[in-house]
C-alpha cells in the first residue's frame, strides 16, 4: 500500500534539476509519487474533487519551492506533509462555506468489503479520517501526526481510538443490515 511510497529518495542530480525547474524531471518526479499522493489525498479529503485540488496544489508548491529542500531523500515526506496541509485547508474552506460535498470512494474496485470500508472511512469527520489514515495506512507515529496537525500526542491517540471504534460500528451496522436483508429474502 502507500505507506512506503513516499519513502523513495531523489538523487542529487534529480534534486538539482528540480531546483532548476526542469520540466522533464518534474514530470518524472510526479510519476514517481502521484499514486501515493492521489491515494492519500482521496482518503483525506473523501472525494476526488478535493483530491484533485490538494494534489495539484501540493505538486505545484513542492516544485516551486524545491530550492528550499537540501536532502533528496526527504522529498516524499515533504510532499506528504504539504498534501496533508492542503487537505486540511480544503476541510477548513468547506467548514466555512458549510457546503455538503458529495463523497466518493475514488475506486472502481467491486469487492463489497472494500466498498463498505471505504464508505465507512469517507463518512468520518476530517480529523478522524486524517488521524486514522496517517497512522494505520501511512504508518506515521502519534508524535509525527501531532506535530503535523499542531495537536498533542494524546489528542492523536484518543482520536484514533474513537475513529477506529466508529468505523467498526459502521461496519457492524452494515453487516447486520445485510444479514437482515438475507433473512427477509428467505
Amino acid at each position: 500500500m502507500s505507506n512506503n511510497a513516499f519513502n523513495q529518495p531523489l538523487d542529487a542530480l534529480c534534486l538539482k534539476r528540480l531546483r532548476k525547474q526542469c520540466r522533464r524531471t518534474q514530470e518524472q518526479v510526479y510519476r514517481l509519487f502521484v499514486e501515493a499522493a492521489w491515494t492519500l489525498a482521496v482518503r483525506l479529503t473523501g472525494c476526488e474533487a478535493g483530491a484533485w485540488d490538494a494534489v495539484q496544489e501540493s505538486f505545484l508548491r513542492a516544485f516551486r519551492q524545491a530550492g528550499q529542500l537540501h536532502d533528496g531523500s526527504a522529498f516524499g515526506f515533504w510532499l506528504r506533509r504539504i498534501i496533508v496541509n492542503q487537505a486540511m485547508d480544503i476541510h477548513r474552506m468547506r467548514s466555512r462555506e458549510s457546503t455538503e460535498v458529495p463523497r466518493e470512494t475514488g475506486s472502481d474496485a467491486p469487492d463489497p468489503a472494500w466498498l463498505d470500508l471505504e464508505t465507512a472511512i469517507a463518512g468520518l469527520d476530517a480529523h478522524g479520517r486524517m488521524v486514522l489514515w496517517l497512522h494505520d495506512a501511512e504508518g506515521m507515529t502519534h508524535e509525527e501526526i501531532a506535530s503535523l496537525v499542531g495537536k498533542t500526542v494524546s489528542w492523536s491517540k484518543t482520536r484514533l481510538s474513537r475513529t477506529r471504534a466508529r468505523v467498526r460500528e459502521a461496519l457492524s451496522k452494515e453487516m447486520n443490515s445485510s444479514l437482515r436483508k438475507v433473512g427477509n429474502a428467505k
Partner: protein, 157 residues
C-alpha cells in the same frame, strides 16, 4: 496487523486521473508572479493602518485585568481584525512577487493553515485569533512592501 487493525492497507489504490499532470504542467507555466495587476495603494495602506491599530489595541489590552467582558471584546476585536486583513489579503494575493517573498509568504500561508486547523477545534480561543491576526498583518505588510518594490522595478523598465 496490530498497527492496521482495520486492514486499510488492503484497500485498492484509486488511480490518479490522466489529465492531472497536463493541468499541473500548465499551472507551472503560469506562475502567480506573471500576473501583473494594478493596485490601489491608498486603500491598502488605509486597511493596513486600521489593522495595525486594531492589533495595538489588543496588545494594550494585555495589561488589563482579565474579565469575561474584556476577554469577549478581545476575541471580537481579534476576529474582526482577522476578517478585515483577510479581505485585504484576498486582493493582494494576485499581485506581483519576487522569489524571496514567494518563499516566505508560502511559509506563512502554511502557518496560517495550521492556525486554522486549531481554530476549527477551538473557535473561541482568543490567543489563536490574535496569532492569526498578527500573522495576517505580517503577510499583508510583506505583500504591500513587495508590491511597492515591484512597481518601482516595473517603472524602471
Amino acid at each position: 496487523m496490530q498497527n492496521d487493525p482495520l486492514n486499510l492497507r488492503s484497500l485498492p489504490n484509486p488511480a490518479p486521473p490522466e489529465d492531472l499532470w497536463p493541468s499541473i504542467a500548465a499551472a507551472l507555466d503560469d506562475p502567480p508572479r506573471s500576473r501583473v495587476r494594478r493596485y490601489l495603494p491608498v486603500a491598502l495602506a488605509a486597511s493596513l493602518v486600521l489593522a495595525v491599530t486594531g492589533l495595538q489595541v489588543i496588545d494594550m489590552a494585555d495589561d488589563q485585568p482579565t474579565h469575561a467582558t474584556t476577554e469577549d471584546s478581545e476575541l471580537q476585536l481579534a476576529r474582526a481584525t482577522s476578517a478585515r486583513l483577510e479581505q485585504l489579503l484576498r486582493r493582494q494575493r494576485d499581485g506581483v512577487l519576487d522569489a524571496t517573498a514567494v518563499e516566505s509568504l508560502a511559509w506563512m500561508e502554511q502557518e496560517l493553515g495550521w492556525l486554522d486547523v486549531q481554530l476549527a477545534d477551538n473557535p473561541s480561543e482568543t490567543r489563536l485569533w490574535r496569532q492569526r491576526a498578527e500573522l495576517l498583518a505580517e503577510m499583508a505588510s510583506q505583500y504591500e512592501r513587495n508590491n511597492w518594490q515591484a512597481r518601482i522595478q516595473l517603472a524602471s523598465y
